[in-house]
């Protein structure tokens, strides 16, 4: 029943995208931290995108992990944005005020398009 967290990292323009899948709970700490490390170790991205489109469950410990990633990114002067959150987890981002610090996009395409800037 439990689906462990998985992460895939790729670069898109000047951003690093971390595509998460499964459950973001206490068991996701190693995966999320390793993914962030990989994401910022090459190319020095100014923005890290956390994509939650394939995440079915986030609990309070998962929220704490996201807070830790955000804290580290801020200390490194990087921006964190999120995409693919369900309505419920979007509400939780609002309640916890994470959405004050992490811009939330409907899906990854919208996030990447925004990061690429308006077409000239």
């Amino acid at each position: 029943m439990r689906k462990t967290c998985e992460a895939a990292v790729r670069a898109v323009g000047g951003a690093a995208v971390i595509e998460l899948a499964g459950e973001v709970d206490g068991g996701a700490a190693g995966v999320l931290n390793a993914a962030y490390e990989q994401a910022v170790s090459s190319g020095e991205p100014g923005t890290v995108v956390l994509d939650f489109a394939r995440v079915g469950y986030i609990n309070s410990t998962g929220i704490a992990l996201i807070v830790s990633v955000l804290a580290r990114a801020r200390s490194e002067r990087r921006t964190v944005v999120a995409s693919g959150l369900s309505e419920h987890y979007r509400e939780i981002f609002d309640i916890t005020r994470l959405s004050d610090f992490i811009e939330v996009f409907g899906d990854l395409d919208a996030a990447v398009s925004q990061l690429a800037g308006p077409a000239s």
């Binding site: 609990n59 309070s60 704490a64």
Partner: protein
């Protein structure tokens, strides 16, 4: 003297889960199944599921201290429009830390507050009412969600400890 009759509570489910990490998922799934016909709107069902998961995690980790042989009891009842989920551990009055520190994201980001500590905050914000009571070693958190109504501000009620009375969180 007149009295207003309240509908008799109707038990929707009663079950236990072992105090093992991850079993909060079992609890939320069984609660969701039990209330499926209650008329709870999908968004409010998601809120209730999150509150049940967090309360069960607290019961497993803080109440029963992760000892698998000690069960967490879950009872789901409906009383009129109210769906009531009672989650009980055997951790006594120390099951939840107190006083509860209100999470402040900015303080957490600046390292002045630990990153964790969102559980009770989420529970309070997900349901219409939350009560905690301790009766000897039995520590119960009771979550109330009104079916068919808009979300109302959460209320916390409590009283003295022991003898089945309620306590403040």
């Amino acid at each position: 003297m007149t009295s207003v009759a309240r509908p008799a509570p109707r038990r929707l489910a009663s079950f236990a889960v072992a105090s093992e990490p991850g079993n909060e998922r079992l609890a939320l799934a069984q609660v969701a199944e039990a209330v499926a016909a209650s008329g709870l709107a999908p968004a409010r069902l998601e809120r209730l599921k999150t509150a049940v998961a967090e309360a069960t995690m607290n019961a497993i980790e803080h109440g029963n201290r992760g000892r698998p042989e000690i069960p967490v009891d879950v009872e789901v009842t409906q009383e009129g429009d109210d769906i009531i989920v009672a989650i009980t551990d055997l951790g006594g009055e120390h099951a939840l830390p107190g006083p509860v520190e209100e999470p402040d994201l900015l303080l957490k980001l600046e390292g002045e507050q630990r990153a964790r500590g969102w559980g009770l905050f989420l529970i309070r914000n997900m349901v219409d009412a939350m009560q905690v009571r301790t009766d000897g070693v039995r520590h119960t958190i009771q979550l109330t969600m009104r079916a068919g109504t808009a979300a109302a501000p959460v209320s916390q009620t409590g009283g003295s400890q022991g003898g089945g009375d309620e306590e403040d969180v």
